[in-house]
């Protein structure tokens, strides 16, 4: 976990929060949103950056490599492993975050 994430989460093992408190909800949602948003930004820059690059630097983007143009190779092949990496990071980190968040409050009694 990054330093900023740890700051948001607070130290593990402190006094438990009330499950229904505003504090718990804030802590929960902010940490989840921060993670999602950061990864989203990485993804968006790549995804939305490509058309711009195609527009302003066509010679570079269309340089031939083993029959492909670079931009064809990127969009038709390379982009998939990139998305797999981003999702793997997300699933791993968000599940760790959930396990963490489960310790901040006591479960509901029924």
């Amino acid at each position: 976990m990054s330093i900023s994430q740890r700051e948001v989460l607070g130290k593990v093992g402190e006094n438990k929060l009330d499950l229904h408190s505003e504090e718990y909800l804030q802590k929960l949602m902010t940490s989840q949103f921060a993670l999602s948003f950061k990864l989203f930004l990485v993804f968006v820059i790549i995804l939305l950056g490509l058309p711009v690059m195609n527009y302003i630097a066509p010679e570079m983007m269309n340089v031939r490599l083993f029959g492909f143009t670079f931009t064809w190779f990127f969009l038709a092949i390379l982009i998939y492993p990139i998305t797999w990496l981003i999702s793997w990071v997300y699933v791993k980190t968000s599940i760790e975050l959930e396990n963490e968040a489960a310790t901040w409050a006591d479960p509901e009694e029924h």
Binding site: L19, H20, E22, Y24, L25, L28, M29, Q32, F33, S36, L39, F40, F43, L47, L48, P51, N54, Y55, P58, M61, N62, R64, F66, G67, F68, T69, T71, W72, L75, A76, I77, I79, Y80, P81, T83, W84, I86, S87, W88, Y90, V91, S94, I95, E98, N99, A101, A102, A105, D106, P107, E108, E109, H110
Partner: protein, 695 residues
């Protein structure tokens, strides 16, 4: 071109149908409750569910349509498969977890539960039905087209066959019934798209080798593909299939008589010097000509070409105004060049013939085909159609990525997972399975252009670029007897599996909306478990028949275009609603409803207007769009304005209606985000019936 029944593909398809029905009947025995029918009892494992979701996701569009569109207009279309796959990432990051944690049976269920608003459920149902039916149309087209290619049956036969099999399966087994079948069919599709391609690489050259045949340098970039043998193309008289654009000097022979409107490949600017038919055709212009009107009511001349007439079109003609050349600016490079046009035919058969047949000799350039450079590079024919390629591209990307996150039949799948964590893991595996699949369709596009360019010669219909996945493998018959037919059978099976699984997923979602939301909540809230199951079965038949009917009407639309429309509506209606509902506490029902209804509704209206223009139902609309290319771009790909519009509406209306905020909205946010082991009491709408048995 082969006519008659393709025996081997037929056997493969029959096998697939039997296996599917068999699995459906087998599963039916284990369907015991309403929970089984609607969400497979929330007990599907990660491997099974990810294969099933991927199987469902890979529709006719993914299997046939993507390859077809990439062959037709090149690079720009690669955004389709990329969008389909990466849209899932969007879902994963923001929607998968919260949606599953909240618990519901359908998306309208979620809408009702999140806002305590029965009215909102009604609005949500309307959109589920809208998006769902829009999405079934390309599946039905795929089924019809595939059977035309395999059996030469009329278009509607494939629709009836596939439709009936799926209605049967869904009515019997519901969600549980189809999950297993969909998982298996993912693997069938994966093999069907990859195995033939690997074998074709051995005989036809690899991916890079084939792409390397196309020139994008200054000298040779305008190379066009050429017919390798003499070829006869059939042109049915329904637009746009009967429009033929000749990008250069091309010769052909009319095998039967035809009435032809001779026009220019691009719209002529007002007061440009007129270009006559004599200039557009350098040989073969018939003497017989009569005046008439075209579909838009404009006066045109009809030239009657007799059977056997040979013609040659002109190479290119400069457009002038008062003798001075008209200059146009290339929207990508910014360079100016003189405007040039070539001939465009609109053909109709004479007498009782069903279609116009034109024969092209070996070595002739193929009509309708884009040049190597415009095909290979970004901002080619697809996005430049209306002169604003970057705008078109961004709107397309937004529609597909947000649309994936707004498709009710995909979203409802999250409810089949046991909990939020598995929902996320499943989504990760779905991305892997999808990515592995989607690298293949562009290969079909590339090899198609290199090896079966004759498919370009007709702009739409069952023997156009749409069918490259089915037709390309047949070439291998020339190298190893029967091998081509076998591989074509494999791809046909994959295509069939494609529309079957997606149609079944759509049907379950549509049926769920009709049975659970319309019947179970609005008409008969006290329904028993048995009644709910019966409602499901009846609704399946109703929804299925409606979808089949709609399918018969869309033979000439691009499969991918139709899917794109479903996505655009989903992107503008469900996606904004879901993402805001999951993350913004102060969203009200009125706000979310306004966003969905007005945002989604306006996207729908924009798309329908382009459909009406293309089909010439409102004939004056076509020329209006031609005069306003930005409007055309924005109406054809509305996501770029409709999504922000919907989000804005949700925000503004919510702020204005804060007194209608559900009182327990904090509790709702908690349920959406808190880890499940904290035991928050979840709403589970068929919880009461979980034990009730169905007879």
């Amino acid at each position: 071109m082969q006519q008659g029944i393709q025996v081997i593909p037929l056997i493969a398809v029959i096998l697939l149908v039997i296996v599917t029905i068999g699995l459906g009947v087998y599963i039916q025995k284990s369907v015991k409750s309403a929970a089984d029918m609607y969400v497979a009892s929330r007990s599907v494992s990660v491997p099974m569910n990810s294969a099933a979701i991927s199987g469902e996701y890979l529709s006719a569009a993914s299997f046939m349509g993507v390859a077809g569109m990439i062959m037709k207009s090149g690079y720009d279309n690669i955004w389709y498969p990329v969008g389909y796959a990466t849209g899932y990432l969007f879902l994963l990051l923001f929607i998968a977890g919260p949606l599953r944690r909240f618990g519901a049976y359908t998306i309208p269920d979620f809408a009702h539960g999140r806002y305590d608003s029965p009215m909102f459920r009604k609005i949500a149902v309307i959109f589920v039905l809208c998006i769902g039916f829009f999405y079934t149309m390309p599946q039905m087209k795929g089924a019809g087209t595939a059977l035309v290619n395999i059996l030469n049956t009329p278009y509607w036969v494939g629709i009836v066959v596939v439709g009936s099999v799926i209605v049967f399966n869904v009515a019997l087994g519901g969600m549980k019934g189809i999950t297993f079948v969909q998982a298996i069919q993912y693997w069938i599709k994966m093999v069907a798209i990859s195995l033939p391609m690997f074998i074709m690489f051995m005989f036809l050259g690899g991916y890079g080798a084939n792409l390397g045949k196309f020139y994008n340098d200054k000298e040779n970039g305008s190379t066009l593909p050429k017919f390798s043998t003499d070829y006869v193309t059939s042109y049915k008289p329904s637009p746009p299939a009967n429009d033929i654009v000749f990008p250069t000097a091309i010769s052909g022979t009319f095998e039967n008589g035809a009435k032809v409107i001779i026009g220019t490949s691009k719209k002529m600017p007002a007061d440009a010097d007129k270009i006559t038919a004599e200039q557009l055709i350098t040989a073969g212009l018939p003497a017989q000509v009569e005046d008439g009107t075209n579909a838009a009511g404009q006066p045109v001349k009809f030239y009657t070409f007799e059977k056997g007439t040979q013609f040659t079109t002109a190479k290119s003609i400069e457009v002038t105004k008062g003798g001075q050349p008209v200059m146009v600016t290339n929207p990508v490079t910014g360079q100016e060049a003189p405007m040039k046009v070539t001939a465009k035919f609109t053909v109709t058969p004479v007498g009782s013939d069903a279609a116009v047949q034109i024969k092209y000799a070996a070595g002739q350039p193929v009509p309708n085909a884009p040049t190597d450079k415009s095909w290979l590079e970004p901002y080619g024919p697809l996005s430049s159609k209306y002169g604003h390629p970057v705008l078109y591209t961004y709107s397309l990307i937004l529609a597909i990525v947000c649309g994936t996150a707004g498709l009710p039949h995909i979203l409802v799948r999250f409810y089949t997972n046991p909990d939020g964590r598995t929902a996320k893991r499943t989504t990760f595996w779905v991305m892997i399975l999808l990515g592995c699949f989607y690298v293949f369709p562009p290969m079909f596009g590339a090899l198609g252009r290199a090896w079966v360019p004759e498919l370009y010669s007709v702009a739409a219909g069952a023997r156009s670029t749409d069918s490259v996945v089915l037709i390309l493998p047949r070439l291998l018959n020339n190298y190893v007897p029967v091998l081509g037919d076998v591989l074509s059978a494999v791809t046909s099976m994959g295509a069939f599996a494609g529309f079957m699984t997606t149609f079944s997923g759509l049907l379950v979602s549509l049926t769920g909306a009709l049975a659970h939301d319309v019947y179970g909540n609005m008409i008969n809230p006290k329904a028993t478990a048995t009644q709910k199951v019966t409602a499901f079965r009846v609704a399946a038949v109703i929804a299925g028949c409606t979808a089949m009917l709609l399918g018969t009407m869309v033979e000439n639309f691009d499969i991918n275009m139709m899917v794109g429309w479903a996505f655009a509506i989903g992107a503008a209606s469900y996606f904004p609603m879901l993402i805001v509902s999951a993350w913004w506490r102060n969203c009200t029902a009125l706000g979310a409803g306004a966003g969905m209804l007005i945002g989604g509704g306006s996207a729908l209206a924009a798309i329908v207007s382009t459909m009406l223009a293309d089909k010439k139902v409102i004939p004056s609309l076509g020329p209006w769009f031609a005069d306003h290319p930005i409007m055309r771009t924005l109406c054809e790909q509305p996501a770029i304005w409709a999504v922000p519009f919907a989000l804005l509406l949700i925000y503004v209306v919510s702020k204005l209606t804060q007194d209608h905020l559900p009182k327990n909205s904090r509790w709702k946010m908690l349920v959406l985000h808190a880890p499940e082991e904290l035991n928050l009491k979840n709403r589970n709408y068929i919880e009461d019936d979980d034990g009730a048995m169905v007879h």
